[in-house]
């Protein structure tokens, strides 16, 4: 990490007051997202859903994740944003215990992801980037397998599986082979697979990648509704800035293995507006461009290019 890059502290989450800056869930309309309680039964403050300090991971000489600090507060929808290759998947795979944590610490609800793997796995539902349902099983069998793997007791199993399928709108298709499902249906089936185990933290890696716009909205509506109904924390990665803007309470902008800025979409946009000093209504994509110095990818024009060093300073001020 270079000295002028993001320092650990600037990524402190600005306290989000629910209701004022939180986007309303689409389907439920009137229901504000209900984050889980901030205090535990013992009266102590509940640990953050995810607390990640100085996380690094390299594939050979590729520094996929290069010193990431972030905190996901219990009950929020947190978006990890960045272009392809930013390191989102690698970071999330460290959080899920799929990859070791070679440097830094990762805690999920206070449990160390490197040392208490089983405890961490029991608390998370993970939907990987690929469409990962087993095509040669029915939707119901796919969900029931995960109920069994998470030790859902036999007497509750059928009911829970049916409820999970119903919650994602797959009750009618439940006994069809998953191989006959559309992309959006498979994503929803994967949501049901996660939901049936009652995770406290749902991790979704690019849940809408490769889906048509209608399926994308459908997947998001189910995520928001489930989150509103269960109060679970959601950590989602995406490279669709508009989706993050619409559905996430807070976002971390990730680029080249680092978190460059972290706040609510509203504040990030407001900060950019202030910096520009005009009345334009910047989008989250504009913020991203500004923060990473226009270096979003090879195809980007240099028009928005700024000195990277200056941008980094901006990032740390922003964060």
């Amino acid at each position: 990490m270079t000295p002028d890059a993001v320092t650990p502290e600037p990524v402190t989450p600005a306290p989000v007051t629910t209701g004022t800056v939180t986007p309303e869930p689409v389907t439920t309309g009137t229901v504000t997202p209900a984050p889980v309680t901030g205090t535990t039964a013992t009266g102590g403050v509940a640990p953050d859903a995810v607390s990640c300090r100085g996380l690094r991971y390299s594939f050979g000489r590729t520094k996929a994740v290069d010193g990431v600090d972030l905190t996901v507060v219990s009950g929020e929808v947190f978006g990890l944003l960045g272009p392809n290759g930013a390191g989102k998947t690698t970071a999330i795979r460290c959080l899920t215990t799929l990859l070791p944590v070679p440097a830094g610490t990762v805690q999920v609800f206070g449990h160390d992801a490197a040392k208490e793997r089983m405890a961490v796995r029991r608390m998370i539902g993970y939907v990987p980037q690929q469409l990962s349902a087993d095509a040669s099983l029915t939707g119901r069998e796919n969900v029931a397998l995960f109920a069994r793997l998470f030790d859902v007791r036999r007497r509750e199993r059928a009911e829970r599986v049916a409820l999970a399928l119903e919650a994602v709108g797959l009750a009618d298709a439940a006994d069809r082979m998953a191989g006959t499902y559309s992309g959006g249906m498979i994503r929803r089936l994967e949501l049901a697979q996660a939901l049936v185990t009652a995770p406290r933290l749902l991790m979704l890696d690019e849940p809408t990648i490769g889906l048509d716009p209608i399926a994308r909205t459908g997947v998001w509506e189910h995520i928001t509704a489930i989150r509103a109904a269960t109060g679970m924390t959601v950590l989602v990665t995406t490279h669709y800035m508009d989706e993050a803007d619409q559905y996430c309470d807070r976002v971390a902008l990730m680029h080249a293995g680092r978190v460059q800025a972290l706040d609510t979409p509203e504040r990030l946009k407001a900060a950019l507006r202030d910096r520009r000093g005009d009345d334009s209504a910047p989008t989250l994509e504009d913020v991203f461009r500004d923060v990473v110095g226009g270096d979003l990818g090879a195809s980007e024009e240099g028009g928005d290019f700024r000195d990277v060093r200056r941008t980094r300073r901006t990032a740390s001020r922003l964060g």
Partner: protein, 286 residues
């Protein structure tokens, strides 16, 4: 984090009730440690059975090869009487060998499924369930045994139709099932270990094809160890397939065999296979 917001409003039960999700709000309690292995093995075997129920074609197509072995090779060599079998008709002598061989052929390509599951993200998700790697591998290994058992049953029926006098003693058949399961666990773990090393489907196909024939011919499946040259005897002595065939012959035909040694070797091989494959599975997760 110092500034972590505390005191968020407690979650109300109402929205959950609205969606009817109330029963989904409680995280299932963990089972005691000893429960995990049998539970995961059971879950994986059930999945394998469900898949077989949805698509039985594999069961039928896989019956062709052993049928040809018994019909052509078996019938011919019974007539030639070229192989000293200790008084047993050659077809009878061959039947247990073909059961073992066809079960091995299924298991040895099981790693292809693991690679496919890796590429499709299924394995990734399995690795994030509260299942230790060894339990996951054991689950997969015995799930491949389910397929092998079906195959063994098909060959048993075929052999009986061809007039082979096999035992129908249920205890002995149970022993046959155990031997097939253990051997199949070993060979599928061998396959998963190779998958963990070579990492791609095509390479695994190549390696699988390269080792199946030596394993088959370097065993007592087709001919007794006594007629082998010394170097082949050495291969047979370290080949779990030979121990499986010996056990199957003893159980099905009642010929002299070394059941205790056979089962000890098969158990040790399965345990070693599961250990090796669990160590190498991590490479597929990267």
């Amino acid at each position: 984090m110092s500034a972590a917001p505390a005191g968020r409003p407690p979650v109300s039960a109402e929205p959950a009730a609205a969606l009817g999700l109330a029963p989904l709000l409680t995280t299932p309690r963990a089972r005691p440690g000893w429960w995990v292995l049998p539970a995961r093995v059971g879950a994986m075997c059930l999945v394998e059975l469900q898949k077989l129920r949805h698509d039985r074609t594999e069961l039928y197509t896989r019956a062709v090869q052993p049928a040809l072995w018994l019909l052509i090779f078996g019938e011919t060599f019974t007539r030639i009487r070229a192989i000293p079998t200790g008084g047993v008709p050659y077809l009878d002598y061959l039947a247990p060998g073909i059961i073992a061989q066809s079960a091995m052929f299924i298991a040895i390509f099981y790693g292809i499924m693991i690679i496919w599951e890796r590429d499709s993200g299924v394995l990734t998700k399995l690795l994030v369930t509260p299942t230790p790697r060894a339990a996951l591998v054991a689950g997969k290994a015995f799930a491949s045994g389910v397929k092998s058992l079906m195959q063994a049953a098909v060959v048993l029926v075929l052999a009986t139709l061809l007039g082979v006098a096999l035992t129908w003693n249920p205890l002995r058949l149970l022993g046959v099932a155990a031997a097939v399961l253990l051997a199949s666990a070993f060979f599928s773990c061998l396959s998963m270990s190779i998958a963990g090393i070579v990492l791609t489907r095509d390479r695994l196909m190549g390696v699988g094809q390269a080792i199946t024939m030596p394993l088959f011919f370097g065993s007592n499946a087709l001919y007794p160890v006594d007629v082998m040259p010394d170097w082949l005897r050495a291969v047979s002595a370290v080949n779990p397939l030979s121990y499986q065939v010996d056990a199957l012959r003893g159980l099905l035909l009642g010929t002299p065999s070394h059941l205790l040694l056979d089962f000890l070797v098969l158990l040790a091989a399965a345990a070693a296979g599961i250990t090796a494959a669990s160590c190498l599975l991590g490479r597929l997760a990267r």
